[in-house]
């Protein structure tokens, strides 16, 4: 027992020593880089302006806005905007983490000051941690400062104070956003050899961040402050993934192995063609190649099923409980015959006409859009695009019992016949789109990089043309000709 305790204590000590040995040199690098950033007026002046002048402006706008809406008794409107402005005040300085990260990783490579550093006894992990912290700490501290300054100003001028939870989630979001940008910048830097190329590739980071900010704005304006924690949790998960991939791609070999950005169009086309074109005729395509592709994306299929069905059903059920439609707008008379149903659909303007071609082209468009969006969002937007219709179906299924309709019967009659084909095709296409989106996180040695994306694009097109399209065509015909009639039959038989 005594021995165990001693061993355990020495284990703790040695772990502590190991941690110090690992982190110590990384912090030396962090200190140098932070000092260097603070000496660059191109970084320091905008940050200073953003954390001093911008909170003043935000506070001024908030106070004026409040005075204006108070005239109409709409104080709530501005109270929803106050926390959003707090997040914006925190977000802008944190975006500098992206600028600093691109500069410190690829900029140093371009100025050729990286090689002397690589020749020192730093491990790859120490270099990564040192630079990651150096890119994150100054902008995040600036964010905190800006947010505190804004909140204090607002508190003293209009007497609005955020709850502790709201302020804490703002701090967590600002930190997580900065870390996401930095860790993504490492991956971008590893794919490029010049600041210019890295800046161009940074759109892969900026576009999802813009979507994120919009989502935050929507949640704040709707007053769903609690949901911001879910968003923060999602960001932490993304961070863990990006950090893990960053550790993989940030190595000496990678950083100095490539000297020029070279777009190998021939190689890219060869890779695409090899991935896309069937190797030994149609028999082999359907018996070997496509089953092989489906097996390869097994984890993505599982993830998609979990997110789309688990998440979709959850959102639908939650939506039906939170925002149920009033009974009077649920007019079932339109479902009496096919003509009235088609008329209603046309008037609504949000669903395709009940013809095979219209349904087919609508589904094809959606899945192609999902594929494209996946490229810019690490696959997440493709998942969300498929989650939406599942959530709508779940939402309707939760509401129809109030009209005396059996939801299971409606699902079996109206969704199942074509859904077998349509959902299978959609899940496969979305899973492959997900694979295409996340492959950028892998190093070229492990099948990632630009050629990895091209290869997965080839697989996406192959799966789409040879499997998804026939399934969608069958589904569209069944939906237009069978499901609609079955639904009407089911409803009129009530």
């Amino acid at each position: 027992m005594v021995v165990d305790e001693a061993e355990s204590r020495s284990g703790v000590r040695s772990r502590g020593k190991l941690w110090k040995e690992m982190l110590g040199p990384a912090l030396v690098l962090t200190r140098r880089e932070v000092k260097d950033s603070l000496r660059d007026w191109r970084i320091i002046v905008p940050i200073l302006l953003l954390v001093t002048v911008f909170p003043f402006l935000a506070n001024f706008a908030a106070a004026r806005g409040l005075a204006f809406v108070n005239q109409y008794g709409a104080r709530l409107l501005m109270e929803r905007l106050f926390p959003f402005l707090m997040l914006v005040v925190g977000f802008f300085p944190s975006t500098f983490s992206l600028v600093i990260a691109l500069e410190t990783f690829v900029g140093e490579k371009e100025r050729r000051s990286l090689e002397p550093l690589l020749a020192t006894p730093f491990t790859d992990l120490q270099l990564y941690i040192g630079k990651l912290l150096a890119s994150t700490i100054p902008p995040v501290l600036a964010s905190y400062f800006g947010m505190v300054f804004y909140v204090l100003l607002l508190g003293f001028t209009v007497n609005w104070w955020p709850t502790f939870s709201l302020f804490a989630v703002g701090v967590v979001l600002a930190t997580a956003q900065a870390l996401v940008m930095v860790s993504a910048a490492v991956i971008v830097s590893a794919q490029s050899t010049s600041v210019r190329a890295a800046n161009l590739l940074a759109s892969f980071i900026i576009i999802p961040m813009a979507f994120l900010l919009q989502a935050e704005a929507a949640l704040l304006l709707m007053g769903h402050y609690g949901s911001l924690w879910l968003l923060a949790l999602a960001l932490v998960v993304v961070n863990v993934l990006l950090l893990r991939m960053g550790v993989t791609v940030f190595n000496r070999e990678h950083l100095l192995g490539r000297e020029v950005d070279r777009i190998d169009f021939k190689g890219a086309w060869r890779t695409f063609w090899q991935a896309f074109w069937p190797r030994r005729g149609l028999g082999s395509l359907y018996l070997r190649e496509i089953p092989g592709l489906i097996r390869a994306i097994g984890p993505e299929i599982l993830f998609t099923l979990l997110v789309v069905f688990g998440g979709g059903v959850f959102v639908g059920v939650w939506g039906a409980a939170q925002f149920p439609l009033p009974l009077e707008v649920m007019d079932l008379s339109v479902l009496g015959d096919l003509e009235s149903l088609e008329q209603a659909v046309e008037t609504a303007g949000i669903l395709p006409k009940f013809s095979t071609l219209a349904i087919f082209s609508n589904n094809v468009r959606s899945l192609i859009l999902g594929g494209l969006l996946a490229l810019f969002s690490l696959g997440t937007l493709a998942e969300l695009l498929l989650l939406a219709p599942v959530a709508i179906i779940a939402y309707i299924a939760m509401l129809v019992p109030r009209l005396g309709i059996d939801p299971w019967g409606m699902l079996v009659a109206g969704v199942l016949p074509h859904g077998v084909f349509e959902l299978s095709a959609a899940v496969l296409a979305t899973a492959q789109a997900m694979r295409m989106g996340v492959i950028i996180l892998r190093s070229p040695e492990k099948g990632g990089g630009v050629l990895g994306i091209v290869r997965e694009l080839g697989h996406f097109v192959k799966l789409f043309i040879f499997l998804v399209l026939p399934f969608l065509l069958a589904a569209a015909w069944i939906e237009a000709e069978i499901s609609t009639r079955l639904t009407i039959g089911f409803l009129s038989g009530l």
Partner: protein
């Protein structure tokens, strides 16, 4: 000590270094010569454990460059092709940072920085920002960074580039001093007189392969033939001279006041020739080897003639 066996590096379709074998003993300077893109920098990067070889192995200061990469980097001083300085830092801050990274104590760092600044005559400018330095001063700071931890192995890529003659002399003296204190040194350079002055051995790399390796004299003998000797006279006596010398060696060329012959054994032939000329009463002014530059050797090698 540096030992390289079959070292190879492949970048996708490019074979940058191909089966390189070399040895550099303690107290030896090896000049690695070759045209741009021949594989010198890639070899140095593999020796400093920055890049991993695709095949083969290298041992530096007794450590394997792949297995013990951290130890290799601790024991090597690398002067990179470009100085690669942080221009917003002062010279002192820069050196202090690298000293700290290499685990030197604060007092040791201060001592080494002062010593090197004094040696390289940089003490007066160490507090200035590196961005204000001239190219030569930057190169000196980079060299100070390389020597800061007093490594047993030095890998120097173009150590005197951009330097004025006085500074270049200082750097060459430093390298010779390092050799005398039993360091193993590899110098990559395009400056052939410098290589000739510094190197105990010369290796020429072309398209990733070592094509020749030896001492400067061995290479000259192998590639340019036997040394050419020249006798000079104070007054004209051509016919008698040729007659006397021809008894021992074949005369390569002669003029009014001079005569040239080739010999692979100058230490045996020259005294005999000289004695015979003096015995014949000929007015000998001097006997010396006609200088043959390393450049001629190098050009023959890289053009593929050798």
């Amino acid at each position: 000590m540096i030992e390289i066996e079959g070292l190879t590096k492949q970048f996708e379709a490019i074979l940058a270094v191909d089966q390189v074998n070399l040895k550099v003993a303690p107290g030896e300077v090896l000049a690695l010569l070759g045209p741009n893109g021949a594989g010198k920098t890639t070899t140095v990067r593999m020796l400093s454990a920055i890049l991993k070889p695709t095949a083969g192995r290298a041992s530096v200061a007794g450590f394997d460059t792949v297995r013990d990469s951290l130890e290799v980097r601790r024991n090597v001083g690398v002067l990179t092709e470009a100085p690669g300085l942080y221009k917003r830092m002062s010279g002192h801050e820069y050196l202090d940072f690298f000293g700290e990274v290499r685990g030197l104590s604060k007092s040791k760092r201060r001592e080494r920085i002062l010593h090197l600044a004094d040696w390289f005559r940089m003490a007066d400018v160490l507090d200035r920002r590196l961005g204000e330095y001239s190219k030569g001063m930057m190169q000196k700071i980079a060299l100070m960074r390389t020597l800061l931890h007093d490594p047993p192995v030095l890998l120097l890529d173009e150590p005197t580039s951009a330097m004025d003659p006085e500074s270049a002399r200082l750097v060459r003296d430093t390298i010779l001093q390092m050799r005398d204190s039993q360091r193993s040194v590899i110098v990559c350079t395009h400056n052939l007189p410098e290589a000739e002055e510094l190197a105990d051995r010369i290796a020429v790399i072309r398209q990733g392969r070592i094509v020749v390796d030896g001492t400067p004299d061995e290479l000259k003998l192998r590639l340019l033939g036997a040394p050419l000797m020249e006798v000079r006279f104070s007054r004209s006596s051509q016919n008698g001279v040729v007659k006397v010398v021809s008894q021992f060696v074949e005369v390569a060329a002669s003029g009014d006041l001079w005569l040239r012959y080739r010999t692979g054994k100058p230490e045996e032939i020259n005294p005999v020739v000289l004695r015979a000329l003096l015995d014949a009463g000929l007015p000998v002014l001097s006997l010396s080897e006609v200088p043959r530059s390393l450049e001629s050797v190098y050009l023959r090698v890289v053009s593929g003639e050798a």
